[in-house]
Symmetry: C2
Subunit: 119 residues, 2 copies
DNA sequence: CCGGATCCTCTGCGATACTG
DNA sequence: CAGTATCGCAGAGGATCCGG
């Protein structure tokens, strides 16, 4: 696959750990701007470095926007999905549906174990 | 994300290197059974170990089928997409379209550089 | 509060050689 | 032909500390 191929380009960021989780977290807030610390709190186990890295990558890919308010302390840093980011969620949904349809055995995400997946 | 979540499960295999390429290679042959060596030849740079690993993973995930004919030599080992594997290609196409729409700058995959992406 | 800098671990993957 | 076995490295990502 040519490195210029869109599939390659997309897999290059969506394949990384936490990326999809972060997108879903922002998606749940819809048009709202979510703070760094809010996202972090919702993703137990993620380290600040990795969250930072992913957020930057997603900015570069234009899936999210970043707004900084350093006018006063504490600094307020917020993120939100762009239009393309919202469109991308559709792909994640397609993945979810494929998984549910072809791997229904577990009934995951419809079960009480996966309430967080409200998307 | 719960490890039982379908999205998690899917990303767990689709995120790995070569996986999508292998699926596309089998898809191009449609219902035909493709031999190990054929796939290998079409994916320059892949090592036998990795190809083996990916093929096994995909069997486990029920995206491909494996048929072995050891009745006479040389051994003939062939692979083909299952129904769910074919359905999965739709997701890859969705990714491609998203990439083309939101990252058209390069015009990749419509360009002469990416003729291999005939899917 | 946000996130950069360091260090360190762990594993995915490549290279190569070998077998039924 | 269709893989397995062994070795080694680079790079992703976790833990922790620090600075604006």
């Amino acid at each position: 696959m040519d490195k210029k191929c869109p599939v390659y380009a997309v897999m290059n960021f969506m394949g990384k750990r936490w990326t999809i989780l972060i997108l879903l977290e922002l998606y749940k807030g819809k048009s709202a701007w979510k703070r760094y610390s809010e996202v972090k709190k919702k993703l137990p186990g993620i380290t600040p470095k990795v969250l930072s890295m992913r957020l930057k990558e997603l900015q570069k890919e234009k899936l999210i926007l970043h707004k900084i308010d350093a006018s006063d302390f504490p600094i307020k840093s917020t993120y939100s999905l762009t239009k393309s980011g919202e469109e991308f969620i559709k792909i994640v949904k397609a993945i979810k549906h494929w998984g549910l349809y072809w791997k229904v055995k577990s009934g995951a995400c419809e079960s009480t174990n996966c309430k967080k997946c409200e998307f």
